[in-house]
Structure formats: C-alpha cells, structure tokens
C-alpha cells in the first residue's frame, strides 16, 4: 500500500522529496454536459508505447500517441524507474491503461465516446515543469480531437 506510514524511511523520504508546488494559478472547468456525453482520452505517465515506437530515454519529456484503434495488448513499457511493480501490468494492460474498461463504458453509454488518440508520457527523472511544452502540445491535440475530459493514470 502506498500509505507513507507503511513504507521504510528511505522510501518515504524519496516520495516526499517529489512534493512540488502547483504549476500555476488554480484552474477549474465545470462539467457543462452529462458524463454520459463526454468524449474521453486516457493519459498515463507509465512510459507506455507500441513496440515499434522509440523507447523513452532515462529522463524524457516527450510523449507517445496511442491510437484508440490499435490493439492495446501490444503496448510495452520503457519507464526508467525501478521502484514500482511491473508484474501486474504484464498480466493486464488495463491495470495501468484501462482502455478495455473505457470501451465498456462507451458501449454501455456511460461516456459519450473515446478519443481517436490517447497519450503516454514517462514520469521519471524530471521536474513537472520540464513537461510544460509537450503537455501543451498534447492539450492542443486533445482540443482538435474535441476531447472533453481526460482520465489520468500514474504508475
């Protein structure tokens, strides 16, 4: 469990050293339609990509697109951190990138639709501000795709 009180002191200190202040003034967007009408994209910082895509570098602020139409079982991971479990993802892609669950929500009309493209970053070795340019680029791509909401998963 990631309750800091349950972790060894060195791991607790390591995770607390990642505390960063907010990136800027607070932003807020209220829901202006039903959740069942939203177009949703998934974004993860788990360093996922398809096998033919370039792997992530040790510290890397770039992103990889994940087409909604490609088979997510072909996703692999090149995250540089060694401090998390990978056996669960080896078993089930949805543990980190819950695309099948969102497809089920789409089929059941619990959400409106899924984006054409989802995205993966690799969250390690850099401060959040290092991702500002590429995150802005992805925000522009999401707007073009008429995405209303993003579901974020760390690793």
């Amino acid at each position: 469990m990631v309750r800091l009180v349950d972790l060894p002191a060195y791991e607790r200190e390591h995770l607390l050293s990642k505390n960063e202040p907010p990136l800027g003034p607070p932003v807020w967007q209220s829901l202006d339609k039903e959740v069942s009408a939203l177009r949703v994209a998934l974004i993860t910082t788990a360093g996922l990509h398809f096998r033919d895509d370039p792997a992530f570098e040790f510290a890397d602020s770039t992103f990889r697109p994940i087409s909604n139409n490609e088979d997510s079982n072909n996703l692999v991971m090149s995250h540089s951190s060694v401090n998390f479990d990978k056996s669960g993802f080896a078993e089930d892609v949805n543990l980190i990138f819950p695309i099948d669950r969102f497809r089920e929500l789409e089929t059941d009309s619990k959400i409106g639709s899924l984006a054409e493209v989802h995205y993966s970053f690799m969250g390690a070795g850099l401060n959040p501000s290092a991702y500002e340019a590429t995150a802005s680029q992805v925000a522009g791509l999401l707007k073009q795709d008429k995405v209303d909401a993003v579901f974020l998963t760390p690793v």
Binding site: M1, V2, R3, L4, P8, Y10, E11, H14, L15, L16, K18, N19, E20, P21, P22, L23, P26, V27, W28, Q29, S30, V35, L38, R51, A55, F58, N73, N74, V76, M77, S78, S80, S81, V82, N83, F84, D85, K86, S87, G88, A90, E91, D92, N94, L95, I96, P98, R101, F102, E104, L105, I111, D148, A149, V150, F151, L152, T153, P154, V155
Partner: protein
C-alpha cells in the same frame, strides 16, 4: 477537464491538480487489481464522479484497498533457483544456464497471455543480452559507453523473468516475485553486482538507482 488517480497522496495534495482520487494501491497498480474488471470499474467510476464536483481542487480518498494475495495462496514458483551462479565458474555460464531453465516457462506464460509479452523492447535477444552482461561481469567491466543498451537489456530481462515466474495461471504477490527475482535468481545477483560497481564509480553512481530498487539493495547488505 481532468480527473485521475493519485498513488502518493502527499504529492497530489502538494501539486493540487483539479480532481484526483487517491488510492491505497501499490505503485505500478493505479487500477488496483489485474484481471478484475469489476474492481477496476469501481475505481474508474469513483474518479469519473469527481467530474461532477463544482469547485476544487478535489482530492478524495478511495475507500477500498486492493485485494491482498497471501504468499501461501499464490502459485508456486515453477523454477528452483538457489543461486546456481555459485556452482559455475563464470557469470556468463551461470546466466545462460539459468536462461535455459526459464525459456520454456516464458513460452508457456506467453501462450497463457494469448501471445502478449512486454519483453522484446531491447534490440537484442535475452541470450545475447545475458551473454554480454555475463562477460562484462567476468571481466569486471562497466558498460560506460553503452548505458542505453544496458538499461534496455536489464529491463527487458527483468520482465522476461517476471513473465516466466508467473507462467502459471493464478494471482501473484508482487513482493514475493520481487524477492525471488532479486534474491534467488542469478540475474538478480548479477544486477546487484552491477549496482555495487556503478555505486563505486563517482561519475556513474546515479545509474545504480535505476538498476535495482532500494528494497533489494538494502536487503542485500543485511
């Protein structure tokens, strides 16, 4: 608008994203339970519910823990390792011998996962990577000019081993797998040796931290 999962509550509370659902699950498991669609849906539903909040930032604690897997309930490890490196003259021989015991298990695991594997990100085969790692250790050389190859090779091999150890159907305890990998396999011993060597090299000490988790290196010093 965004919503999502927080694995380290303190980090999220500090950065204050608009909406986040903190979960008590282990790092690497933001949806909690592999292969459990109902569990994953409950987590997603709780995170999507945050979209209806009218002001923020919102950081909500998810009430359910991930299902625990008791070590006695997990499938038995299919291979008995018992540090065979100690019985061979060279790291290279020990690593290649270990690979031979794992290959058929990896094939079996891959078939069980309908062909899915995370291995193969490195441009080289497990055998080629193990051979080269073994030769480096036998010659007491660090791959200072090939760090990118080294990292890709070791991560590829780790996942190959994990997929082999979990070839049989069942639910596994991740800590148990970590312990077997780092403290029973020859590759685990080889990587801890590399981590030690990198740590002794002031210019490359940071590499040690992306070879093995602290939980493995600390235990190795016991």
């Amino acid at each position: 608008m965004t919503t999502g999962i927080s694995l380290v509550r303190e980090n999220t509370a500090s950065m204050q994203p608009p909406r986040a659902l903190w979960v008590s699950f282990p790092l690497g498991r933001p949806l909690g339970a592999p292969g459990d669609a109902a569990f994953q849906h409950r987590v997603i539903d709780a995170a999507l519910t945050l979209l209806r909040e009218e002001s923020g930032p919102v950081l909500v604690d998810y009430p359910e823990d991930a299902p625990k897997v008791e070590i006695n309930d997990a499938p038995a490890c299919p291979v008995s390792f018992a540090r065979p490196a100690l019985n061979y003259d060279t790291w290279e021989t020990a690593l290649i011998t270990e690979l031979q015991t794992l290959t058929s298990w990896h094939d079996l695991g891959r078939r069980r996962r309908n062909g899915r594997t995370l291995a193969g990100v490195s441009a080289f085969s497990p055998r080629e990577n193990l051979q080269k790692l073994g030769q480096l250790l036998d010659d007491n050389i660090l791959p200072t000019n090939e760090l990118k190859w080294f990292k890709a090779a070791i991560e590829d091999l780790k996942v190959f081993y994990i997929e082999s150890l979990t070839a049989q159907p069942g639910t596994y305890n991740p800590k148990q797998l970590e312990n077997i990998f780092w403290h029973e396999t020859t590759l685990g011993a080889a990587l801890l040796k590399f981590a030690e060597l990198f740590k002794e090299n002031p210019a490359l000490a940071a590499m040690a931290r992306i070879i093995a988790p602290r939980s493995a290196t600390e235990k190795n010093q016991d």
